[in-house]
């Protein structure tokens, strides 16, 4: 048998690799939409690459979260609690990234404002994933590359919220999501 920690490391590498690829391709798309140096064909290729890499990394996130949960007792460590919280945030942001690209379509890069917003979501999701990886690195190796930046958080303390308040928060956020999905007018694909 392979230990859950080993599977966690494997799936994390898959996730971070594909996510990094997606981020780089997205940033290049944004740059191309402003500078127009590479041509339409290259931009289309970058956009497709970013999209499918994002879908792949989205598939990896639940695997990473499950193997991570199986490889340690989160209730005994504030660092692991923070990992679980950031996992939820990362998954939400990354679903949003894939949803946005699917809704707006490949022509979204013709709208500079949309391009900036989409790239912003991609970078936010990736930063969250980088924080997760940084926490894992601190736990296993005692240090993180993030320390080079000087202001990288270590998440030694976790919020202490009761079960009842957590339930209220979950219900409120679920309500907000349902309102957005079923009440707000649906988005439209950007036409060229």
């Amino acid at each position: 048998m392979v230990a859950a920690a080993t599977l966690h490391a494997f799936s994390t590498e898959m996730l971070v690799g594909s996510m990094t690829f997606s981020v780089i391709a997205t940033v290049l798309c944004l740059g191309e939409s402003m500078l127009e140096k590479l041509g339409e064909k290259a931009q289309r290729g970058l956009d497709q690459s970013a999209y499918y890499a994002a879908i792949f990394s989205l598939c990896c996130i639940p695997v990473v979260a499950l193997t991570g949960t199986a490889s340690g007792d989160a209730s005994a460590s504030p660092v692991l609690v923070n990992k679980m919280l950031l996992s939820g945030l990362c998954l939400g942001l990354w679903i949003g990234v894939v949803h946005g690209r699917r809704t707006w379509g490949p022509e979204m890069w013709s709208n500079r404002k949309m391009g900036f917003v989409h790239t912003g979501f991609v970078c936010a999701g990736y930063t969250t994933a980088a924080m997760l990886g940084s926490i894992g690195s601190v736990m296993t190796r005692g240090e993180t590359v993030g320390d080079l930046f000087g202001i990288w958080p270590h998440f030694d303390n976790a919020p202490s919220i009761s079960f009842g308040m957590s339930m209220v928060l979950a219900l409120l956020s679920l309500s907000a999501l349902l309102v957005v999905i079923f009440v707000q007018p649906k988005g439209e694909t950007v036409e060229s």
Binding site: I161, F163, S166
Partner: protein, 372 residues
């Protein structure tokens, strides 16, 4: 050409990855054999020699069977990583298997770092002052000459490094008659903050037993122990903060006074505990909220400006609400009379403005041609 340059650059970047490094954050204290059973420090392909100077000393020339002795290892002049982490071993052999002092029959009362293990990690401020660790031991139950080795694992200059000292002999001799002795004992090396600790010490051949303790390297305080059925009992005062406390046992009778080595006490910080279901709910809340934020912004931005302009604010809600609107009776459009100029030449003489505006259209209709 550009592609070639790009590929060469990427390959160079791969080659630039430095051949680091074992466990820069350490692996924690523990009972370990020499080289941790072939860790990165012990792997000749990864490890490099250390320039450390290892100094071995004891608090007495020899020990009695079962008697106390303190062994001090000082490590200086080693390369240091930016963390300055150093792992020090007290070993009884260097074969890689069954190398701990316990394997040779010794009892470790304290490693000086708040534990009772043969390997402990600590941080060095600099290579010149180095690190010093003192183990408090009880000798084996059989006489003889025993070997001790000091070893160190550390990093520095981008490589894992290790060094093992030569053998140092310690003689364990016969117990003199009537020597006060500590029987095999699990010394207390950690306790909770704010709680005094009762220590039961299995001492034989003693007429008086005292517990000496100190904070850091401060003055020594003494507590007299009272004799119980089989043990001597003393109470160590509570620590109110995370201080560096150590204690030792002084056993005496008319002929001898025996003292154990200093035993360091670590403070157990209250363990963290979280409700895992609450954490999962919080994680889900973050997921839903961040997703709602993303979708909301995306949908709002993807609405075309024409549609947004043509809709009232309420139209942002897409539900069909026409059934809520109360129908109003339809009003037939009133045919508006064409406006009349006050200086119209068809205006009869003597009509006021009000008369002309009110009756003028009828007048014009009844008198086609102007009504003159």
């Amino acid at each position: 050409m550009r592609r070639t340059l790009l590929l060469v650059t990427l390959l160079l970047l791969v080659l630039c990855v430095p051949p680091l490094s074992a466990n820069p954050g350490g692996t924690g204290d523990g009972n370990r054999d020499a080289a941790c059973g072939g860790s990165c420090h012990g792997d000749p392909g990864l490890s490099e020699p250390s320039s450390a100077v290892l100094t071995f000393s004891t608090d007495r020339d020899s020990a009695y069977v079962g008697g106390p002795i303190s062994v001090t290892i000082t490590v200086t002049e080693m390369e240091l990583s930016s963390r300055g982490l150093v792992g020090v071993f007290l070993l009884s052999d260097t074969h890689g298997v069954a190398d701990t002092p316990q394997d040779a029959g010794w009892t470790i009362l304290s490693n000086g770092e708040g534990g009772a293990t043969n390997y402990a990690e600590t941080h060095a401020l600099d290579a010149e002052s180095g690190v010093t660790m003192t183990w408090s031991l009880l000798a084996p139950s059989s006489e003889g000459t025993y070997d001790f080795y000091a070893a160190v694992h550390h990093g520095g200059d981008g490589a894992a490094r290790m060094k093992i000292s030569d053998a140092n002999n310690v003689t364990v001799g016969p117990v003199p008659d009537n020597l006060p002795q500590m029987l095999p004992w699990d010394a207390m090396t950690s306790r909770s903050l704010g709680e005094p600790t009762d220590l039961s010490m299995p001492v034989v051949n003693a007429t008086a037993v005292a517990l000496e303790y100190r904070i850091g390297e401060g003055p020594i305080a003494t507590i007299e122990a009272t004799q119980g059925a089989d043990t001597w009992v003393a109470t160590l005062p509570a620590a109110l903060s995370d201080i560096s406390l150590s204690y030792r046992v002084v056993m005496s009778n008319d002929e001898f006074t025996e003292t154990t080595g200093w035993i360091a006490v670590s403070n157990e910080i209250e363990e963290y505990s979280a409700d895992i279901f609450a954490v999962r709910l919080q994680s889900m809340a973050l997921l839903f909220a961040s997703l709602a934020l993303c979708i909301s912004i995306q949908r709002r931005m993807s609405r075309s400006p024409q549609k947004s302009l043509g809709e009232p604010e309420a139209a942002l809600i897409s539900a069909d609400q026409t059934s809520m609107v109360v129908p109003t009776p339809s009003v037939e459009p009133v045919a508006m009379a064409p406006s009349l100029a006050l200086d119209d030449p068809r205006r009869p003489v003597g009509w006021t403005d009000e008369q002309w505006l009110h009756y003028g259209p009828d007048h014009i209709a009844q008198n086609p041609g102007g009504g003159f």
